[in-house]
Symmetry: C2
Subunit: 342 residues, 2 copies
């Protein structure tokens, strides 16, 4: 009997909205670590909206996932066998193993973490890639300043919830935009946002008006996760010389949504003299030590709140991912793939 | 007999394309300068695409021109009477008198110029607002660097022609985009651009392909004057971390042109991690001394070429302006309103 592992591969590219048939669960032989490599088992798998982009063949940040290839992801994993001098069984790592139960590595792109400093799952969320994204976007890309007003879309998502909390700690006025009354209540009551607007209850004109009311002196910074209606409602409220950090555009990943014509956004950038910058955190990974130095103590001290939606079992990752794209998660979306360390 | 002056006012707002009926020539009493004021007569009137924006009531850089108000413009004028200690008859000034034969001023927004250092009309073009725009956009907004590749739209216009020449002097590879074979030949043969693409002879796909061929390693900087097809063809050719300085969008000022949907530009900014910034030179006017220090000697030494399209007579300004919006000018569009100083 050969030992096996599980992985989920891209079976086909989505036409517009991804569906279950775009994914396939495979059972394959367990890889054997060679000299200078280790084998680890996945405990937590991270699901993030950017993975939608990797499913398409179009040019994006990174090469797309090829048909038949394992879906991209970061995981938290425990080393179970090692021929690498720096890694021993029991070590906990963040690793780019993808949607898979196990992986081997020579240490490239691996970050060893202190399993006692915070819950392991936090290293995929508030202390992981989404947290680093929030911090880099707020500080380095948008150059947010105390006293300014910020609009945060996808306000209760893994990135947005940290953006808003960091902005509050910085002394900013924080306006969240989220889908649904429950998320909005959470943003205000638990995350401490000044206000949160429910984009499902408001049409574009109403949302525009609501932002204007919440930001009577205009919006200095827009942290963009969604595109669509939220962008179109925020743009006219931007102050001259406002900054927009584009981190995602989930509302537009799978096509239409009756988008505005390009001159609407281009004209706003011109007339309002905005600075708009797209970014992906991997280009700013050198900022991770500074991020951890500032934010890890805040998490330990309970000054940063975070929330997770956990799906059990690797086989359920596609369904959880499809719900994530529809906004069905609440906080960081995780899949528990294996048990906690003994 | 009372002395009179002429001015052209906004008679009505254009629905889409401006037309002659949107303007009205008026004969009004000559203003009399009070204490601390001077009267000057216009010699040269500058026509610029940004004036199209002022004709609409929509929010723009500045307040729109009101119905019945004189159309906005910078002019070169000669002081003819003065009760201001700093201005004497015979002084030459750049003044915001608008489309008018005369104006009075208390010195606000007035720049005295050395009439012997360069042709007077140059102070409305290569050494004036368009020139300062080109220099600020290239250096401060786009942070253009030697060795980089730049695409300049409206390449033979007042701004674009200087952007390209300054970029060449900086050691950049310069790709112009202009309308018509004659303009393109001028950009390459007279202005020294590396290449110039005729957007009238190429559809969007062909223009995209032509830019890709002219910039095999991609485009670092796009100096945006036009929007429309040129933008859409340049975007996919931008390198990761490329910068776009948005100075204008003449192709989109009067509506449609079958624009792309917003996600096309927003997605490019995100995926290619572009930095896009709108600007208007008046916010950067403190950079004018540095600009003049660098560029005036280049003009005097003949290292900067410039070309003018001159219309005679204030009454012909509307027709010249409408042609400018259609790309019918060649280089800086001027109206000669009065004779040179004696």
């Amino acid at each position: 009997m050969t030992e096996t592992m599980q992985r989920i591969v891209l079976a086909s590219r989505p036409d517009a909205k991804p569906e279950p048939a775009n994914f396939r669960l495979e059972e394959v032989p367990m890889p054997i670590p060679g000299e200078g490599e280790f084998l680890a088992r996945t405990i937590w798998l991270s699901l993030d909206p950017y993975m939608r982009g990797r499913m398409s063949a179009a040019k994006s940040y990174a090469k797309p996932v090829e048909i038949g290839e394992t879906m991209t992801a970061q995981v938290v994993a425990e080393v179970v066998a090692s021929h690498h001098p720096d890694y021993a069984p029991g070590d906990i790592v963040i690793a780019p193993f993808g949607w898979a139960s196990h992986g081997i590595s020579d240490g490239t792109m691996i970050e060893k973490i202190d399993g006692d400093a915070a819950p392991l799952s936090a290293y995929l969320g508030v202390l992981g890639m989404p947290g680093t994204t929030a911090w880099v976007g707020l500080n380095d890309i948008a150059a947010a300043q105390p006293g300014e007003t910020i609009v945060v879309s996808a306000a209760t998502g893994a990135v947005g919830s940290l953006v808003g909390q960091l902005a509050k700690l910085k002394g900013m006025r924080v306006i969240g935009v989220a889908g649904g009354a429950e998320k909005c209540a959470y943003a205000v009551e638990e995350l401490g946002f000044d206000t949160c607007l429910d984009h499902r209850a408001l049409d574009k004109a109403e949302l525009t008006e609501a932002i204007a009311k919440a930001a009577p002196d205009g919006v200095h910074v827009y942290f963009e996760n969604v595109g669509g209606k939220t962008l179109e409602a925020t743009l006219p409220n931007m102050r001259d010389f406002g900054r927009i950090a584009i981190c995602g555009m989930i509302a537009w990943y799978s096509g239409a949504d009756n988008p505005a014509p390009a001159p609407v956004v281009w004209g706003a950038i011109l007339r309002q003299k905005l600075r708009v910058q797209g970014f992906i955190v991997f280009d700013h990974w050198n900022r991770r030590p500074a991020f951890l130095e500032e934010v890890a103590p805040l998490v330990k001290a309970g000054k940063i709140t975070f929330r997770e939606t956990v799906e059990d079992g690797l086989q359920n990752a596609p369904a959880a991912f499809l719900r994530l794209l529809e906004g069905g998660n609440f906080g960081k979306q995780l899949v528990r793939v294996g048990a906690d360390p003994a």
